[in-house]
Amino acid sequence: MNEVSVVASALVADLDFSGAPHLLRGLRRADPFIQLATLAAHGVLEQSSILDHCQPAEVGIYLGTTTGPLQTNFDFLDTLFDDGEGQASPTLFSHAVHNAAAGYVSRLFKLQGMAQTITLNGWPFLAALLEAKTALAGGALSYAVVLGVEESCPLLDEAAGRLAGGQPRLPQRGAVAWLLAGGHQAGLLLGEIVVDEVYSGEEHLLLRHQETFSATLDLPLLPPGPLAPCFSVTHALQRVAAGSGQGSWQAEAPFGRARCTFGPQKKQ
């Protein structure tokens, strides 16, 4: 089995295209979920020269999400309710499919390997990382862009607030991307990844109040929500890369546990 390295990582907290205005034309019909995924993918690909020398079919895309483009699903329903059956928006329908974002990333960056979208209640980004690592370790791909994408949804935010007995949850949207490489590449070695989800009450999945993170180095405090583990593990990765070159990250919650280890740093 090949070693797998993390070549680059990126965090996207809002839809700021000032660093990549050339992407906007290709995204003119895209929803925020797709835009977040594209910005994150751009964030890691611009740090690397792989697109200059790699065969498109050797670069895969793995995207993890808890609820996908759920707001687009509701936007489609709005057209169905307001305009009537037979008048619903085809664009919104095709963009409400969970893998629409991976399709955009594939098309905009000309990546023709596996495009896998995984939907999980707990830690879909970690699950996507694990699948990408398996594919790279087995030699099925040379590189993988691994994305964790979460879009805010007012309906879920209101439900979370009501369930918690308070105000609607503050909207959270964002994305992370890691560029993984198989074989003898520079970067931080990706070690063990564990994703052990257990069936849990829905309130734990909606609120995520009891989810905790720990890591070798201190992590920033993040508001609870499905985006928190994506940002937390990426912060952990970046701190390890900037520091000792070795470390781990762990999440625990009523719906299971997840773990990721990194290092040592490899240089070419």
């Binding site: 699903n73 329903l77 169905l80 085809p90 095709s94 995984i118 594919a135 009501r162």
Partner: protein, 412 residues
């Protein structure tokens, strides 16, 4: 070290073509199922295009018993129809594999299932009220989290192990089986229930209608008169184990998942690449992982939706890979409709069934093959003897995803 062989020890399926594999085989041998507008008992809709429905009550007595015995508070009323279809197919697959849930609670049993409808928010009445400023009871929001079919079916069966819901649109079922193959090869679990499920949905009906992809008549894949697809619903699930483990417990062997490959078109949000470039990548990768060549393949169960673009792209890809070699190609969607996330699971089951029988009948309602197709399918009134145990089951999807499985049948 070569990865372990991945055996198929059980198969479960439910669709308009039959509520079990035996019923499907009777359908193939007899009269094709009919399609009709969405029945009133499911939902009211102005969508008049015909659809292929599984039976109204998808659960067998055994599956119903399992659902009734769960300690999770889940009932037929609180889980989506997609979950019921998946549960039924999973119970069938375990049964054929000679396994009962109670007997494998000490095993790591993974669930890798594909879906499209199942991961959506389908409680339209809740949203309709909510957007008007009302605040209905939260039950439909909480039930939305049971739409994760892998976690929910695993919990209903009382099993533990890795879970993933693959949401790659119409290739979800195929890719879910490919994912499961990797889990077993890397020893992440002892067995996996892999495939796909999707129930009929008003949202999906209107989505395909808006895209002008639905045919008002029964679909006719590969036929020159084809006008689009018919939606369907169902579930198809394989029970997968490492061959060594399966043989150790004297499990019945239906076949093997020998190869899997995937590739992307990088072309358009909904339309396939005209040359089928992602499909070519997927087939070639699947052949490579199976260590097989095109000469080894005796049967191709195509995606064959009946849309103009899909059938042309798919047969263009097949002509690119197979050249002049003409392997029998059919589509089973005239029997099931396009079951979206379930399609790859159902068609993997159907592919193994055909390979085990050693012969295949042509695509229903493909009477006049479209001369523009570069690779010719087997038309309705033709039959073909299959020359070997290896076949292909392949899927194309929105977003430009393509997946391909190389399956090997073990003859009874």
């Amino acid at each position: 070290m070569a990865p372990p062989a991945i055996a198929v020890t059980g198969m479960g399926c439910i669709s308009a073509a039959g509520a079990t594999l035996a019923a499907y085989e009777q359908t193939v041998a007899g009269t094709p199922p009919g399609c009709a507008p969405v029945p009133k008992w499911l939902f009211d809709t102005a969508f008049t295009f015909p659809v292929f429905m599984a039976r109204k009550d998808p659960l067998s007595p055994r599956a119903r018993q399992i659902l009734a015995a769960n300690g999770l508070g889940l009932t037929e009323d609180t889980v989506h129809r997609t979950v019921l279809l998946a549960l039924e197919a999973a119970v069938q697959a375990l049964d054929q594999a000679g396994l009962q849930p109670e007997g494998i609670r000490d095993k790591r049993v993974g669930f890798s299932l594909g879906t499209t409808v199942g991961c959506g928010f389908n409680a339209e009445s809740y949203y309709a009220a909510w957007r008007q400023g009302k605040r209905p009871d939260l039950a439909p929001v909480l039930a939305y989290y049971h739409a994760n079919i892998s976690a929910t079916v695993q919990a209903l069966l009382g099993l533990q192990g890795p879970v993933a819901v693959v949401t790659n649109a119409c290739a979800s079922g195929t890719d879910a089986i490919g994912l499961a193959k990797g889990w077993l090869e890397t020893d992440r679990c002892d067995l996996v229930l892999a495939g796909g499920a999707d129930g009929m949905s008003r949202i999906t009906c209107n989505g395909f209608s808006s895209l002008l992809l639905a045919d008002a008549q029964p679909c006719r894949p590969y036929d020159v008169s084809r006008k689009g697809l018919n939606l369907g619903e169902g579930a198809g699930i394989l029970c997968l184990e490492k061959e060594q483990g399966a043989r150790r417990r004297n499990a019945p062997l239906c076949g093997y998942v020998r190869g899997y490959g995937a590739g992307s078109d990088a072309y358009h949000p909904t339309a396939p690449h005209p040359q089928g470039v992602g499909m070519v990548i997927a087939i070639n990768k699947a052949l490579a992982t199976a260590a097989k060549t095109i000469q080894d393949i005796s049967f191709i169960n195509g995606h064959g939706t009946g849309t103009a673009a899909n059938d042309l792209a798919e047969t263009t890809a097949l002509a690119t890979v197979f050249g002049r070699q003409q392997v029998p190609l059919i589509s089973t969607k005239p029997l099931t409709g396009h079951t979206l996330g379930a399609a790859g699971g159902l068609e993997a089951v159907f592919t193994l069934a055909a390979l085990r029988q050693g012969r295949v009948k042509g695509s229903v309602r493909c009477l006049d093959i479209d001369p523009a197709l570069p690779y010719k399918p087997l038309p309705e009134h033709a039959e073909a003897e299959l020359t070997g145990p290896y076949g292909i089951s392949q899927s194309l999807a929105f977003g430009g995803g393509n997946g391909c499985l190389i399956l090997e049948a073990v003859h009874e």
